[in-house]
Amino acid sequence: MKNLVTALFLGCALALAQSHPAVAIHNAKIVTVSGSVINKGTVVVRHGLIEAVGENVAVPSDAMLVEGEGLTVYPGLIDALSTWGQPGAAPAAAATTAGRGGRGTTTATPTTTATAATQAAAIPARGPEDRPQTTSWVKIADEVNSTDRRIETARGAGFTTAVTFPTRGIFAGQGAVIDLLTAEKPGEMIVASPVGQYISIARGGGGGGMGGGFPGSLMGYIAYLRQIYLDAEHYKLVKDTYAKNPVGMTRPEYDRALEGVLDSPRILLPANRLVEIDRMLHLAADLKQPVIIYGGRETFRPEAAALLKQFNTPVLLSMRWPEASRDADPDEPDSMRTLDTRDRAALAPAVLQQAGVKFAFYSDGLDQARDLQRAVKKALDNGLSREDALRALTLSPAEIYGVANRLGSIEPGKIGNLVVTRGDIFDDRTKVEMILVDGRKYVPAPDASPMGGRGAASDPGVK
């Protein structure tokens, strides 16, 4: 047995050593996020993991040496809600526009997806029992693929990791934390799966669902959520009882929708307006599910931040700050509420920070470095400190998804995901020199800046 383990270990080590030679970045500024900044130190990555970090760390003789003078090393950035790694997938939308509400971002209904989502049935759903728009059993870990062109673009912007979700339907399926590798086997990309169930709430087709299927209204969506969790609880009870002693008991019917719901360690619920945040927090409490709120447009309102704090619920903030429509009728100004929201939206991270609410940023369809950089800059201009901004893109998302023991900071034993820049990561003139993902080195196309500049991975097909 012992021999076998040793053999396995050696085998693994050999395999890893071949693909990931040790890398040592020497004499660089190291922003660990979890600890204090090391002004001049060394970080060693071996076998895809961070081996050592500190001021007095010796450079191993077999390591590829990177002279870090003038360079800064950060943990790789994490997109906390993404569709990266799913070629052809539409961005995860900042959903819920149910009802009125600021115009701002409207929910884009994803049109394509790589998941095995079943097409809407020809017969409209007649109630929760038909499990409408549900593919809760889909595990995106089974679908990710490093041929997604956005992976390279995102890496050029300093992202090494994404929490990627299927986004089609009410219960879209289970997300995974993936490393943004160009991998031969997609399985290499997976860091953790499943990490949550993506739930979206959009308006149904047709007014109130007339002519369409269930649900056709916001209250229909919510009733469906309530019913499915009641069903899941009952299903589990029946299944467990049957497992204990099936003799003489009618076999419970297998329900993949409920299996998927039960497999999910947490749920992601959309909420942008204050009313929606209030509604979704109360709903999640009723459903007895650990929850992450995504969207968060009105979290700049202190009442919203206070609610999130009260419910001890983390929030994923869209990096798409609301903007006035370019085609708006100048004679019809938006409502005070909408104007006010646009004016103050970017205060949200600073307000949440102040209130002690855990938050992370997500790309929400942005994948160009300069757009992501502009979004962070807007938050910085509105009172968010650079440290907190960095945390919201590294350790905070790792904590929110329960993978902080592997990701989010530069500590020995964590996964070797690093961004090496010349200059502060959030400055527009800064250049990304190198990205390590699982200890594998990627160099962005010339002229790339961490989040700014055009750069990395230009895609001739798109530009």
Partner: protein
């Protein structure tokens, strides 16, 4: 729902809610703070013509303390620190109660995809930021029965709310009130699901049963057949409390509550035949219809309605807006009342809701009702229909201080609401509202200008496609 199609258009998202009213000065925050002080102030409304509805009309004062009406009379105690509201030459009535409203609902009034949608709940989608709440306040409404739409034979769960503008969704809910459920008969439920299956936007649609009034009856009976089985299962389980409990079904759970008398049925209806049909179903299955809504042919079957014990909540003088409203008459409310039916007048509409006082006035003109009887149709009678008459509906010591001050005789079209109190807190004050408008406008202009300015320097030429 009266103007059903209009309501559908409304849902499709036409009015983008918040208007200049919202977010008083800087934001909703200040509005919240201003509108909802932590503890209610003690008020004395002095020298008003007090129309109590239950105990006559007289000139005198009202003492409001701890959110309740503490004293009513020609002279009342004046505790130190009480705030005086001088209402000389003005009138005070109990807060208006609208027994049929669809305001403050987010994301659709109908779950119209199915004929029995009792799993959905208005409570889940209350929108405390709907400006219609504030406007209803400005029309003297303090409580409203917020109903699901009428697209379904059996619609969603409903509840009464108070117009506590600035509070959260939970803060609106009329605490302790018995919740309801919406039923609907006639044209709306039978056509709502596009029963003929005609194409919409070029796409063939699945028809939705029922397509006739017979079908509506069948849907309701079938649903209660299921509910009875469901109830029996649960009753059996509750009796022994062992083994695996039955599956909880939200749809049938609501109907079980109806059978147990824990949930009021508010049914949309027009024609006499369908009214009788529903009363028969209720008798057959052993539950009560709490209110018939609209009930424009109620005058034809008033005795039967009274015998069942159902209330009737109708329109004043609206008719012929649809085929099943052709036999409506403006004397409906008065006739039903004289036959012993408990009658209220409702709005079913965010605009009409703002002048229910003049709707009540019409009952004086057409039915020859007394002023008090007419006023009761928008205060005490709807309170009794909703089972909240111990709390609201009249000006009596111990009731909630939900009060409306009018400058003129309240049943007149010329009367304007001056102040509205709910639970002893001023939620609407006409003087404040009017005087705050220029500042709000200026604030809005500032934001518009700021946005323009921010955008100007960006003025990069539009990138052409393919560049």
């Amino acid at each position: 729902m009266k103007r059903f199609l209009r309501s559908v258009a409304f849902q499709a998202g036409v009015p983008s809610g918040p208007t200049p009213f919202v977010g008083a000065f800087f934001s909703l925050v200040s509005a919240l703070l201003a509108a909802a002080p932590l503890c209610a102030q003690t008020y004395i409304i002095r020298n008003a013509t007090v129309m109590t509805v239950s105990k006559g009309t007289f000139k005198g004062s009202i003492l409001v303390k701890d959110g309740k009406i503490a004293e009513v009379g020609e002279k009342v105690m004046e505790p130190a620190g009480a705030k005086i509201i001088d209402a000389s030459n003005q009138y005070v009535i109990p807060g208006i109660i609208d027994c049929h409203s669809h305001i403050a609902i987010d994301g659709g009034v109908n779950e119209g995809s199915i004929s029995v949608s009792s799993m959905v709940d208005i409570k889940d989608v209350l929108n405390p930021e709907d400006i219609a709440i504030y406007r209803a306040l400005a029309g003297g409404v303090t409580t409203a029965n917020i109903l699901h739409g009428s697209a379904n034979s059996i619609g969603g769960k409903t509840l009464p709310i108070k117009m506590r503008w600035g509070k959260s969704a939970e803060g609106l809910i009329f605490e302790g009130a018995t919740p309801g459920i919406k039923f609907a008969l006639g044209e709306n439920p039978k056509r709502a699901g596009n029963p003929t299956g005609r194409a919409i936007n070029g796409q063939a649609q699945q028809g939705r049963y029922p397509a006739t009034r017979m079908g509506v009856e069948d849907v309701i009976r079938e649903a209660f057949n299921d509910a009875k089985v469901y109830k029996a299962e649960w009753d059996a389980y509750d009796a022994k409390q062992t083994g695996i409990p039955p599956r909880k079904d939200l749809k049938l759970e609501a109907l079980k509550e109806v059978l147990e008398g824990k949930r009021y049925v508010h049914s949309h209806c027009y024609r006499a035949d369908e009214i009788l049909m529903l009363l028969r179903i209720a008798d057959d299955y052993g539950f009560k219809i709490r209110t018939l809504q609209h009930v424009l042919e109620g005058y034809k079957v008033a005795k039967e309605i009274a015998a069942h014990g159902a209330g009737a909540s109708t329109f004043s003088d609206w008719w012929s807006f649809k085929v099943e409203a052709f036999d409506a008459i403006p004397y409906n409310a008065a006739i039903m009342q004289k036959k012993g039916v408990l009658v209220s007048l409702n709005s079913d509409d965010a605009e009409l809701m703002r002048h229910l006082n003049s709707e009540a006035g019409k009952a004086v003109k057409y039915g020859g009702l007394s002023e008090t009887e007419a006023l009761a149709m928008i205060t005490l009678n709807p309170a009794r229909q909703l089972g909240i008459e111990t709390r609201v509906g009249s000006i009596e010591v111990g009731k909630d201080a939900d009060l409306v001050i009018y400058d003129k005789f309240p049943l007149s079209d010329y009367a304007k609401v001056q102040k509205v109190l709910i639970d002893g807190t001023v939620y609407f004050d006409r003087d404040n509202e009017v005087s705050a408008r220029p500042a709000r406008q200026a604030q809005k202009q500032k934001l518009i200008d700021k946005e323009k300015q921010q955008r100007a320097p960006q003025g990069a030429p539009t990138r052409r496609v393919g560049q």
